[in-house]
């Protein structure tokens, strides 16, 4: 599905630093406000905010850092989450509810239920994850605006 630049309503990329828990949630909150302003259906806004929050937190906890890109088209939204490592060895395992390698210090904060990736999948209309050990992980989520 090729798209032309003209159709893009809005596009923005923001970085998430490794270990930056204090900032985690800010990107999702800004998406939520922006999409509300654009008049996007509140249920879709909610699903996207949940998925992006989980993605943002995962970047802070599990990766060396990464970025989140939101691309808004008239009829759908893409959220692309990329990081620079360490990658996921077994994606099927990582996708299982309850599987987590979160270290003890973040478990103390209530992270590490192993629900983040399943939450992202449940909240998005399309979900793709690719990963290469040593180089990084990319998650692409799509959200339909018309149906």
């Amino acid at each position: 599905m090729e798209r032309t630049e003209k159709e893009t309503t809005y596009q923005e990329t923001r970085r998430v630093q490794k270990g930056d828990f204090a900032a985690a949630g800010q990107i999702s909150a800004s998406y939520k406000n922006m999409l509300k302003r654009l008049g996007v259906d509140s249920k879709v806004v909610r699903r996207l905010a949940i998925a992006s929050y989980e993605a943002e937190i995962n970047l802070a906890i599990h990766t060396l850092g990464g970025s989140m890109t939101i691309i808004v088209y008239p009829d759908h939204i893409f959220l692309v989450v990329e990081d620079t490592g360490p990658g996921i060895a077994d994606i099927a395992l990582a996708m299982q509810e309850g599987y987590s390698t979160a270290p003890e210090e973040v478990r103390m904060l209530g992270f590490g239920a192993g629900m983040g990736l399943p939450n992202m999948k449940r909240c998005s209309d399309t979900f793709e994850i690719t990963s290469e050990l040593g180089s990084g992980t990319t998650i692409r989520m799509g959200f339909n605006l018309l149906n």
């Binding site: 999702s28 904060l109 209530g110 629900m115 399943p118 939450n119």
Partner: protein, 111 residues
């Protein structure tokens, strides 16, 4: 039922004086795992937890919870309260346990 009406029965102290206590409480949630709350949360819930860091407010705000109730008299960082004030999420605290708090909330008719 609004947040103000929970104060006495749940023995709550308000930690964010500038927030709106007329917010409707339409449900409850007792959980200390953030992803569970992300998955199960619904707008209007009063969230009872012993977690007190900044991300609690991020989750509460994304879900548009009516308030956060900190159980067991846990200490709450000033940054958390500042963020709560900014997001307009009332944060209240009680010396009671999560178990007792949820029982009292339920008894008040919040389902």
């Amino acid at each position: 039922m609004n947040v103000a009406k929970l104060m006495e029965p749940l023995e709550l102290d308000l930690l964010t004086p500038e927030t709106d206590l007329t917010r409707e409480v339409t449900g409850g949630c007792v959980c200390d795992l953030l992803s569970f709350v992300m998955a199960r949360g619904e707008a209007g819930m009063a969230w009872i937890t012993v977690q007190t860091h900044l991300n609690v407010i991020a989750v509460a705000s994304l879900h548009e919870f009516s308030c956060v109730i900190v159980a067991e008299g846990c200490a709450v960082e000033p940054e958390t309260l500042a963020k709560a004030a900014e997001e307009g999420i009332p944060v209240l605290r009680s010396a009671l346990s999560e178990y007792i708090l949820s029982g009292r909330l339920y008894a008040l008719g919040v389902r």
